[in-house]
């Protein structure tokens, strides 16, 4: 069935088509302007989204990494979180006092003196206790080793009871010996 449109209707449809084309053109212009101004209307779904997300995640990862370096200290006793001020304090290493450290190192440079410190790590000991623990050396040798440790400030003897005690530097020195052992063991495994 063929419908005959009147001339008047044809004219009206033609006008509407032109109006629609004009509106499309206007919309296209507005969209282009907004995109150029960065108002976010123009969205290109596709690779851009993935790239954007990747960029954001990369930035976040860098931030986290930097923050980790700043505020977390991983030591032999576990993880400690420091505030910025504390971190600076940890990083501030003292200068090495070569003569004093050399004296301490010299005192440590003997197997039995290290063993004695190891015994003292568990608490104060009388001479007889140490003799019992180290039967392979004579009393006079043991006594001279203890003198060296005392002179280096790694041990101290009570004057009344006579017990030998490990000092704070002594503990630090023995901990250092432990760490060296750990490194040596690791080296052997590798």
């Amino acid at each position: 069935m063929k419908i005959e449109l009147s001339e008047e209707l044809k004219e009206e449809m033609k006008r509407l088509k032109e109006e629609l084309a004009s509106m499309k053109e206007e919309l296209s212009e507005v969209a282009e302007t907004k995109r150029k101004k960065g108002h976010g209307i123009y969205i290109d779904l596709g690779n851009r989204v993935r790239d954007y997300v990747e960029d954001v995640m990369e930035g976040v990862a860098e931030g986290i990494h930097g923050e980790l370096e700043k505020s977390i200290f991983i030591g032999p006793r576990g993880v400690r979180i420091f505030k910025e001020r504390e971190r600076r304090r940890v990083e501030k290493e003292p200068k090495v006092n070569f003569p004093e450290v050399a004296e301490v190192m010299s005192a440590l440079g003997q197997e039995y003196r290290l063993r004695i410190l190891g015994e003292l790590m568990t608490g104060g000991k009388y001479m007889s206790d140490l003799q019992e623990k180290l039967p392979e050396i004579t009393t006079s040798t043991l006594s001279s080793h203890l003198d060296v440790l005392q002179e280096a400030g790694l041990a101290v003897q009570e004057k009344v009871r006579g017990r030998y005690l490990i000092t704070m530097p002594g503990r630090a020195a023995y901990k250092m010996a432990r760490r060296i052992t750990k490194f040596l063991e690791r080296g052997k495994k590798e």
């Binding site: 101290v156 004057k159 009344v160 005690l165 000092t167 704070m168 530097p169 002594g170």
Partner: protein, 209 residues
């Protein structure tokens, strides 16, 4: 009773043997044979002695912490006159009257010279020392020692059982069983059964449990 009621006696004795005046787990005060002694009296009762001879003070001013021992023991030769307030019963047994020769051995020309020096120390302890002038001491059951240091000022040791207080020029040590406080030029340490606070010179505060 207040300090000024104490009197310095006028008889000079000497020790007949090496005598341990005070002893505890952490310290010893000894006086050797032939040391001179003058009694300190309160209402005609002996409450202590002023000694001059070769003596020795040992005191373990050491604090044991989890970070290691802190402090060094005190070992002092007591070759200047010093004073002791304590139960005198045991000391009396090892005393005999001193002769002019005994005084000469200690470097005094006569009794008067020794008495003058003894009064000087006695007065500094009992009368001039503002810290002590109003304190009651008559009922004490422990020991009080006053030693003259290098600068002729007085260092004090007060002990009663396990309780010890020692104050010297640059050291304060307070101990009662496991509770210890030590103040030295390098650090201040407070410790109580393994828990300790350590404040070191130029370093941070270490708190350990």
């Amino acid at each position: 009773m207040i300090w000024h009621e104490y009197q310095l006696g006028d008889t000079v004795s000497k020790t007949t043997e090496d005598t341990r005046l005070w002893e505890s787990e952490k310290g010893i005060v000894e006086i050797s044979k032939d040391a001179l002694a003058i009694p300190i009296e309160l209402d005609d009762e002996e409450k202590g002695y002023l000694f001059h001879g070769q003596g020795k003070l040992l005191l373990d001013t050491i604090v044991e912490t989890e970070e290691g021992a802190i402090g060094k023991p005190v070992e002092r030769e007591l070759n200047k006159p010093f004073l002791m307030l304590a139960d005198t019963e045991k000391t009396q047994q090892s005393l005999t009257k001193a002769s002019e020769g005994d005084l000469t051995k200690m470097g005094y020309e006569n009794k008067q010279e020794f008495m003058e020096e003894a009064h000087d120390l006695f007065n500094r302890f009992f009368k001039n020392g503002s810290t002590h002038s109003r304190h009651h001491v008559s009922k004490h059951r422990g020991f009080i020692f006053a030693f003259q240091n290098q600068t002729n000022k007085l260092d004090f040791l007060v002990a009663n059982g396990p309780k010890i207080v020692y104050t010297a020029k640059d050291l304060v040590f307070v101990s009662n069983k496991n509770k210890v406080v030590l103040k030295s030029p390098d650090e201040v340490v407070c410790s109580d059964k393994g828990r300790s606070v350590i404040i070191s010179k130029g370093k941070s505060v270490i708190i350990k449990k």
